[in-house]
Subunit: 139 residues, 2 copies
């Protein structure tokens, strides 16, 4: 199973020039914990997550309506491609304490957003299938 | 395996009269996405999560230094006990879209904070062990 197949349907994204407020509203509307931030050439420039909100905006010192998401996003950001294995993606996320990893094509354009939960769920599905097979051999 | 054994070490918590700012700082300092909110009789009164921050504080209309966490926490909150099975806890969390579930004793006092990631990881560990056993029978 390709890591792209593990992602939820279409990833949430906003352009770099969007306000932080717009990025927050995108997360709320889409019920996701992260949005990809897309630059002028349509490449992924960064990622903006619930953790960034907590760290950079929640204490009320800066107004998200007056800030561009570019100023508060996480960048550079680790990314995966279609060729990244689930094990590699999981290792990166665990090591870097990331819960999300954008998947991009060769031009750096967004294909999907992988969450650690997607990965763990896929691993459970695979193990369950393997266990069923192993047990059917025994019976 | 008891759900309490799946939790990370000591759960983060703040008293109901703490400011929202203090609850946010506890999340940042402890690298967690949720804190339990404890009332005067030491019972769990609610939970305050990254999602609550996003929904109720991130758009900058309210000052977290002047709000008590009681005003912005999620309550009533689903809770688990030592007797709750992992499957029951997971079902509750998936159904209610919760990522955290406080575990309490008979007096409603906090024993631990279960995350959906703890549950998925424990499920992977169990399946891996079962698969090893099933395969060792085959060989």
């Amino acid at each position: 199973m390709n890591i792209l197949d593990m992602c939820d349907s279409e990833a949430a994204s906003v352009p770099v020039e969007a306000t932080a407020e717009r990025a927050i509203r995108a997360m709320l509307d889409r019920h996701v914990g992260a949005v990809a931030v897309i630059d002028e050439s349509l490449r992924v420039a960064g990622i903006f997550t619930e953790r960034d909100v907590l760290r950079r905006l929640s204490l009320g010192e800066r107004d998200p309506r007056k800030l561009s998401v570019r100023e508060v996003m996480t960048t550079p950001v680790e990314m995966a491609t279609r060729a990244t294995t689930a094990a590699e993606a999981l290792a990166t996320m665990v090591e870097r304490h990331y819960r999300h990893l954008p998947i991009v094509d060769d031009d750096g354009r967004l294909l999907g957003m992988l969450s650690i939960r997607n990965l763990l769920q896929a691993q459970i599905d695979t193990l369950t299938r393997q266990l069923d097979q192993a047990r059917s051999v025994v019976l």
